[in-house]
Symmetry: C2
Subunit: 635 residues, 2 copies
């Protein structure tokens, strides 16, 4: 009573299964209230009543606004069992206490595995270096300033003629120089002093590699004296609160005066949070982090830098800047050494960002060699082709199907996701592997590919992705008039519901794989590279090592090459950022690469729609392109 | 009653003669309460019970803490007529309403006259320049970024190969480029783009010249398209709250964790306040101010930049940096264009700062020519000697006597100050001129010099500055046992009290003039320059044009040269800042000058004390040095 009286008309809410009691404001959505009090509810569309992932159960709905038409459509039968969309239902003023149950499949789950690939050998030569400097003490006869004596000391070692001192270094210089006989200077690119520290601190020098992905931020901390990664972490991109989809965020950033800044602050807060965690984990003082290399697609690059993104989203899709940028990290609010340098790798085009430059750097694709393809699969898939003359790239609007979006039981590769699925020949017995020690709750990208490939091999679906009505199996059921193949039945699943795949789900994947294949084939046609000439196909992105090479070929995601030529390189963009941290040559190389890669706009190609349509079959309309797989087709 | 109840134990105060009613907090000093409510009380020592300038009258003192011993000493007889030091007397809890009368001589007065000297011809070539750039619109076939197209546009005009874009410019670039066909870019030093504006804004380009003096900040706004000064203002340095004297401030800045930053913020707030005023006066948008040139002595230079000053105040008196510094004004919080450059002129040594560099720049002293002396008279007086080979300088601890401090009726050259005094031969009739249309309240520096010179010519004081007991005049009175010469009697003065000069006052001036003369003579001896060789003596500083050339010679402030060789150049340091604003050549020249000037430490010279003692007479112990004045001496 007392509480109600004090806070006016707030509504008491109990979030289950957490048993968390909280107060909601009248007219606030369940989603907003949940986020506010730290309860994670999936909201892939950013609360715009599109994705349907934010389902919650509320038995007594008298304290909520009634369901909207949109809601009813997305929930269909579930509305009867008192489900609501958390992003739509709002609390009514003076409502009685309300209990909100968050079902298992609506819970935001933690990723299980670090996605950073293992290290390649790179000569350690970071842009930042530490030198121990003996500085002459001042005297009545030596009228030189502190900065002059320091620079003279550095020159005695380096013999340089031109070294500059950062403004922020000077403020504390008098005290530092008098604290010890010798000091340690941090030099940037051997020409700027970015920090001066009392004593010999040469053993502590760290750098951060950061990949700002649309849905995830990964961060690793490297010891720059030996190149060893000492900690890494990743986190859901907190901008997801403003829309899962990148375009939604661009739109949001344009909607109000401060929105762009707000999105920037959100990313920076996410980065700072990760920074704090990796530093704590490795027992490193953030003050000793002197460099951060940041990669990300073009929109994330612009948003992180606080650059207007409006024109990235409208024709002719022009970025504000493509060159790499080196700024003081403090200028964008990074919580590391106040003079640390934040280096943003260059971007290639509006749809091929710094992440692709990182991919190329890490995979050495820029080195002359036999033709090779690199694919970085995500909501937008970047495809880069190396031929004998250089690099060509394009961006494919593959959509988020491989991240589980628009797939009824789709989910990201997090705890509880099926990561691989096999269907035993003949009997339709299904085998699967789950991420984490838990019951399965949905399908991540690699499992969806497996399911389609296996169904196709078994003749359960035809080349158009339609169920073959001649095959009979108890696993194929009509649910509410829609045919679905049951992968995990309700009894075994973590949600208590069947985990299924429908023709609609398969179609989503077909659209995605066709887009990606068309990207590959267009680049190859343009550059006159034949399938047989490809020495390698490198696949980067969230899939990780769980992808089945044969199944990837069987659904026609990539050109048909022997499985031995296919490599999964994980989060190569992040690894590229790490490479740049280790070597300032890589840093300069990145700019050269970005300038040299030729971007091809798929939509501008007149053959595009024809090629895309042909790729909308399993594995492709033209079976000659997939001749090595003929044993699996049409049986 | 109600009010008392609400605010607890605050004390009602009536400040007279303003009739301002206010509330003071218990245990607050009268001074603090007055400052808080906007009543100006002189407080040259920063409220440390040293200067005695903060005298106020309180008839009923029951609500105040009793007078301290220090207070009694400073107030002596005045304590009887219920005077108190505002910085010492504190309000008692639950006191009855108190009336505080601020006597005329304790009122902070506005300076009457702008101290910025008139302009010299300097070729207009500021570091910032504006160019109108036609930028190609982006298209599907032109994949260049906004920044690439902008830079290409600039290069079409300038033909430069290397132009950089400031990070902060990029954020808004997409929108700006799409607002108009052509944009205007602000280039810094023809190599960095610091601002991009829609349309043609070439007509609006401004810069600030700022002189941060120990006691005063002066600021002028220049139109950089034609070099015209469009507004100027000055203000008491708000740091005075932390001590009139520079050493007090250095001590304060070291006393606590944040004190240094606080002093920096105080100066910056003062500068921003002036900026706002000059911009408003000239109807200029601060966004169109792209450059600020800042001069000041070394301590002010360091404090403004937030640099540790501790070691400026202890032997061997080493500055943190001597080179000029160009930083983004925003880094120190200047409220002008966010990318505007703040340029700090270089300093020469701990005791000869950027103001001296400004003096030299403005006066062209660095140009080869006949020997010449430049004196910038202040609490520290900088003396610079030009001989045939170069420049030598020293700093003289002249003290603030010429600013009225330590002089019983001394004051700054503000409204109400006597600016010149003549004593009619024989009759001791006194003539004077007052600054402003008001009754006189005290003596500023030029008047003090006049009084001493005139008394000396009349034989009323001897060569040691002692009253000649043989002369009788009603103007020479013993007040409380101390002999004083009455310049203005109580009836004519604005304070209702006699304005007098005592032997003690004269002695203060003798110490000051001896310090300055010794600086001049030491430099001349060191460089082998004879008095007869001096082609000019330039006097800069607060004195202005009211100084009497003959009297200056007669008290022995400077070497005895014909009056025609003496020039008053006003606030030359500020004028030097303006010159730098107008010409980037001057900006580079400043660095060269600072490197070339040789600093000489007076205290290190073994002849120093002897020379100083000899200069402690009127005009000097060695009358041969002042032979042109022999008619006035010993008569
Ligand atoms: S429908 Fe509610 S968050 Fe997407
Ligand atoms: S004695 Fe009070 S301010 Fe100086």
């Amino acid at each position: 009573m007392g509480r109600r009286a004090e806070t006016g008309s707030t509504v008491k809410v109990l979030f289950e299964p957490y048993g968390l009691r909280a107060y909601a404001n009248p007219n606030e959505t369940i989603l907003d209230a949940a986020i506010r009090v730290g309860v994670g509810i999936r909201s892939e569309c950013g609360g715009t009543q599109i994705c349907g992932k934010c389902k919650v159960q509320v038995r007594d709905q008298r304290g909520l606004t009634p369901a909207t038409l949109k809601e009813c459509k997305l929930l269909n039968e579930k509305i009867q069992s008192s489900f609501r969309l958390a992003c739509s239902a709002r609390f009514l003023q003076d409502a009685d206490p309300i209990t909100v149950v968050i079902p298992s499949e609506s819970v935001v789950r933690k990723r299980q595995f670090s996605e950073i690939v293992s290290e390649r050998k790179i000569k350690l030569e970071p842009a930042a270096s530490k030198v121990r400097v003996e500085v002459t003490q001042p005297s009545i006869s030596d009228r030189r300033s502190d900065s002059e004596r320091l620079l003279a000391g550095i020159k005695r070692i380096h013999g340089h003629t031109k070294i500059e001192l950062d403004y922020n270094v000077i403020a504390g210089l008098p005290e530092t120089l008098r604290q010890s006989e010798a000091v340690t200077s941090v030099l940037w690119d051997k020409e700027r002093v970015i920090s001066v520290e009392a004593g010999d601190t040469r053993a502590t020098m760290y750098g951060l590699a950061i990949d700002v992905g649309t849905s995830r931020i990964t961060c690793s901390l490297l010891n720059l004296t030996n190149g060893v990664r000492v900690a890494d972490r990743s986190v859901e991109n907190p901008q997801i609160a403003y829309g899962e989809d990148i375009l939604t965020r661009v739109t949001y950033s344009q909607a109000g005066g401060d929105n762009g800044k707000q999105l920037q602050r959100t990313i920076i807060a996410g980065i700072n949070d990760l920074t704090e965690k990796v530093c704590k984990e490795a027992d490193v003082d953030p003050y000793n982090v002197y460099e951060a290399v940041i990669v990300g697609n073009t929109v994330m690059h612009h948003l992180t830098l606080g650059i207007d993104t409006k024109y990235l989203a409208r024709s002719p899709f022009t970025p504000a800047i493509r060159e790499s940028m080196s700024i003081r990290g403090a200028e964008i609010g990074l919580s590391i050494n106040p003079n640390a340098i934040a280096h943003f790798l260059p971007i290639i085009d509006a749809f091929v960002g710094a992440d692709a430059v990182g991919d190329i750097l890490y995979s050495n694709l820029h080195r002359r060699g036999a033709p090779a393809l690199l694919l970085d699969i995500g909501t937008n898939t970047e495809v880069i082709l190396r031929d004998r003359e250089g690099l060509t790239c394009c961006s494919c609007a593959s959509g988020p199907a491989f991240e589980g979006v628009h797939i009824e039981h789709g989910m990201k590769a997090v705890e509880g996701a099926l990561e691989s699925v096999t269907i035993r020949r003949g009997g339709f017995k299904v085998g699967y592997r789950v991420l984490g020690v838990t019951k399965p709750v949905g399908l991540c990208g690699s499992a969806i590919i497996d399911v389609i490939a296996e169904l196709f091999k078994e003749g359960l679906i035809d080349r158009f992705g339609k169920f073959n009505s001649e095959v009979e199996t108890p696993r194929l059921k009509k649910i509410n008039g829609v045919k679905k193949f049951i992968i995990v039945n309700a009894g075994e699943s973590g949600t208590g519901r069947d985990i299924t795949v429908s023709e609609r789900d398969i179609n989503e994947v077909m659209l995605a794989k066709a887009a990606i294949y068309t990207g590959c084939s267009t680049l190859m046609r343009r550059r006159g590279v034949a399938r047989g000439e490809l020495s390698r196909i490198l696949i980067a992105g969230g899939f990780g090592k769980n992808l089945n090479r044969q199944n990837v070929r069987l659904i026609g995601l990539i050109p048909d090459v022997p499985s031995s030529k296919i490599s999964f390189i994980g989060n190569a963009a992040h690894a590229g950022a790490e490479a740049t941290l280790k070597s300032r040559k890589a840093l300069h190389l990145a700019d050269r690469i970005a300038r040299e890669v030729e971007y091809i706009e798929l939509a501008a190609s007149k053959e595009f729609s024809g090629e895309f349509a042909a790729a909308l079959m399993l594995p492709h309309k033209n079976l000659e392109l997939f001749d090595t797989l003929k044993n699996y087709i049409n049986k």
